[in-house]
Subunit: 259 residues, 2 copies
């Protein structure tokens, strides 16, 4: 079973404080991932895992320095310095995350998209090495990054761009979204389940309620699971044991099933 | 004009001292590259540059810990820890090199092969992003790295593996090998020129004289330039101004011409 676990930038860092790490969460999340891997091992069940994380407080403040927005058009400027500065900031964040995972004996390795991805009309992202890694039970940790586009400029490839692409390419069974809320909320309560029976109703609701869609790109996450015809959960990664439970399919949150 | 400059690990670090950096050389080399780029700019001449460096004192000692040699067969073991440890060591070296280049306003960016390369029977190495980078006058700094193979194990992708591949893929005009010797030496003197007229004689000599071939893989470097039907120089990167001169085609060393 192939699982993609997306760790929201907001649970690994404080987006308002540049270069901040939420060490308590990172440490706890690492331990919970390790416990889940051990559970699968003890029960002789196969699990392949890919972790995806965003820029958090590392990528965003640096990227902002080089982003120019004119007439709603985003372009990056001064990238002879900026490309490396963003790359380096993301490397630093990714290093911290992998070092912590490794300290719990999780076989995490790094995937740095800026080295090989083009994000233009289509996304060009060779997953051959990632496939070989999961075959060997390594756990690729893919991070949001600055990448070249196909129009002589640059784009941010976010964690939320990476998840749907990898899901499709690698035929993922389960997508887990660890966010800082309890799921897809309606009147502050998480919807228990989204499937073909209530999806149009829910997308309609999210469209009207801009506020919800902006915080966490819920609509995009739901559509990703829908388009990939797989299963997933959007849950609160800040709560103790939720990461562990999510990997075992037991977490409270919004379950989404299009499998 | 596209130039690949290979910086030998032995001129950027002391291979006998783990994690050592030859700061004087790194600083001088960065300044010389900057001077050469400025020269081309002043003369309105186009130059595209790719830098390649090996593992030096960072990659080798770590890789050694995980390498098992039995009956001449090399395999990597304990790679659930080792892959990341080698990745991280190479990242650290690459960070130091790019930070120094950037401090001289050289638009260097990082290419980390372990994220996307498979080195099996064939080398699978998507150069799409590198092409886009050089179009924007960024300077990709590609480093030797640990990569997956196609046989459920791993391989070191060395700088000397990267250079011929990129040369062919990107149709490189000039390959510059900055080594710690004055060129291809015969009786301690560098051969001035290698071309179609003396190549068989020289390869014959190198075959007999194992010692020369081992120090720096000279034979491999010559064959790379020959197969790519391009021009190149093998020269001493430890000598002041040689990097600058090499980029202008003026350095003393062994000139190789199969263009």
């Amino acid at each position: 079973m192939l699982i993609i676990l997306k760790l929201g930038g907001s649970i690994l860092s404080n987006k308002n404080i540049p270069y901040s790490v939420n060490w308590d969460n990172l440490d706890r999340i690492s331990r919970e991932i390790k416990n889940a891997l051990d559970y699968y091992k003890r029960h002789n069940k196969d699990i392949k895992l890919i972790l995806v994380h965003g820029g958090g407080s590392f990528g965003h403040p640096v990227a902002k320095k080089y982003l120019k927005i004119e007439n709603d058009k985003k372009t990056f400027v001064n990238m002879e310095k900026g490309f490396w500065e963003i790359q380096r900031a993301m490397r630093r964040f990714n290093n911290i995350i992998i070092d912590t995972l490794q300290s719990y004996d999780i076989p995490a390795v790094s995937i740095q998209p800026s080295s090989f991805v083009i994000f233009g009309e289509k996304l060009i992202f060779d997953t051959s090495a990632i496939r070989e890694m999961i075959k060997r039970d390594l756990i690729p940790v893919v991070h949001g990054d600055i990448v070249v586009d196909d129009n002589n400029n640059y784009k941010i490839l976010s964690g939320d761009d990476i998840v749907p692409y990898l899901s499709k390419e690698l035929k993922t069974d389960v997508i887990l979204y660890a966010t800082d809320v309890d799921g897809v909320l309606i009147n502050n309560k998480p919807i228990k389940r989204i499937d073909k029976n209530n999806i149009s109703q829910i997308l309609e609701y999210l469209k009207e309620s801009n506020k919800i869609d902006v915080t966490g790109g819920m609509r995009y996450k739901i559509e990703t699971i829908m388009k990939n015809k797989c299963r997933g959960i959007i849950f609160n990664g800040n709560k103790i044991n939720n990461i562990y439970k999510s990997l075992l399919g037991l977490v409270e949150g919004t379950k989404i099933d299009f499998s």
